[in-house]
Structure formats: C-alpha cells, structure tokens
Amino acid sequence: MVPDSTEDNKVNYYPMKFIDQMERNKHMVLLYDSTEYAYWIISRYFLNGLENSESCILVTADKPEIIEEQLAKEGINVNLYKKKHSLRVYQIEKSDDNKHDALATLKQIREDATKGMKPPYRFVGRTITETETKVGMELGLVLEKTGHEHFDEFDCSQMCYYDISKIESSMRQKWISGLLKNHHYVIYASKPDKAVAFETALLEDEEAL
C-alpha cells in the first residue's frame, strides 16, 4: 500500500491535528501497517518538537542512515538539526537478551541516547526489537508496563512504534490491549479513511472497575 504523498494529503491526514495539539510529556503508541504513513506521523511529531526547541531522539536497531534518509524525505533538515544537537538517531543492539531488567534498560538507553542534548526530550522508538514472536512480544509488554508506570520520572514525550502487520497473530488481541493500557494516546497510521488518534482512557470501562 503506497500512500499518495502530496502535501495536501499529508496536511489533511486525520491524526495530524491530534499530533499538533497533543500535550507534552505523554506516552503514546503508534500502530501502523504502512511505513510511509508511520513516517508522516513521526516526522510531524519531530518537526513540531524541533520548531519548539525540543531535542528529538529516534531509538532504533536499524541503521541510522536509513532512518535519517526517511526523515529527510519527509522534510526534516536532518544535517542542520544534527549539527545543533537537537536531532539524533540512536542505534541500540538488535538482541533483546540483555533487556530483562526493564527499568534499568530504559534508564540506560535514555541516559546514553541524550548525551550532549538539552531537555525537553521527544523520543520515538521502542526498546524491544523482536515483535514477531510470543517471547519478544511478552518481554515488550513488560517493558512498556514498567515504562508507563515510571513515565513521569523520565520527564519526556515518547512515541513507541509498532508495525502491526508483522506481529505474531495468536497474541494480537492481548498484545494490542496491553499496549493501549500502557500508553496515554494511540495513533493508528493506516489508510486515510481508517487512520485515527485518541486518548486510550476513552476505552477504559469504568463501570467494570
């Protein structure tokens, strides 16, 4: 599925208004089934931060050059912001073997990834790279839960992104519900008629509590 990337389509893409109006220091999950739509959202989220003198960090196990190329394609002056130390693509190891102490892992990544940068911080990324197996997804949920419980201590905005077309299917419902429970906002980057963004609290069934 290749989206029509004309500027009008991007501007009118449903979740953009939500991205522009969201409060700071929120923990959000970006679920996507198309990388192109995901980068529309990530780039807008970063641009808003960069224009507001925030430091933006994308944490990934992929090669930074590939991500930087995508961000540049979406209109971010990557070289300029990198020189100003306000944009960084921070590469983490691909293996999830050393990430079982969830809080220590999150704190270490945050510390290393922000060296030489000034707060406030705007993060994009996820700590767990393996989401195509049950074990990886379960570990991912533990990290997200810990991260969310301690989110105020991190004093930042964070967008965690997941390609839902690749997830292990038998855990899909449990995993997506778990992600929604442990984030303030959800953004679904899909075709324009399906894309949506909202506060996950809307799905809490208070009567059941």
């Binding site: 679920l31 419902q173 929604l180 429970k181 399906k194 949506v196 909202f198 809307l202 799905l203 069934d205």
Partner: protein, 100 residues
Amino acid sequence: MEIYNDILTAISLEITNSNDYREDGAGGAKPTRVQLKSNLAYDKFARYLTELENKNMIKHYPLSITERGNDFLKDYQRIADFVLEMGIRYMDSSEEDMKK
C-alpha cells in the same frame, strides 16, 4: 464507549432542538429528556454522566458538551472501527472476555 456516544448525541440533539436554544449551548440540555433519548435507567444514566464529567467531555450544570466531548463525537466512528479491526473490546475486559 457506545453509551458515551448515545448520551453525547442525545445532549447535542437536545441542545440544538431546545426552544431556548443558544448558539453557545449555555442554555444546556434537560437531563430527563437526555435520559429518555439515550434509553438508560436513571441510576445507570447518572453514573455515566459522572464518568463523562470526569473525562471532561460534558459540563453538568447546565448539561452541555465540552470541546473534548465534541471531538469524541466527531471521532467516534473511526475509534469504533479501530476497536473492531484490532479485535479488542474494552481495556478492562478480561482475556476470557476477549476470546468470546
């Protein structure tokens, strides 16, 4: 979530159709008429009104919809489609509920 939508829609209709309608909605909707329109027993209706107020989607006195409530009304169908597509129900549903 469906009930939120029913109540907010009823408030919106009630304000718009009210004889003392004011463009800013300051006149408010009559709770008994909203209750009837949303087809809920009084105790349940009262509980949901409190929830909506806690979520800053309505103002209770006079009964009216906030900007956040209006955003919800606008987004409701997309959110409902998302919930359906993801196969999730409500976040406090048990795993057993979700398997049903």
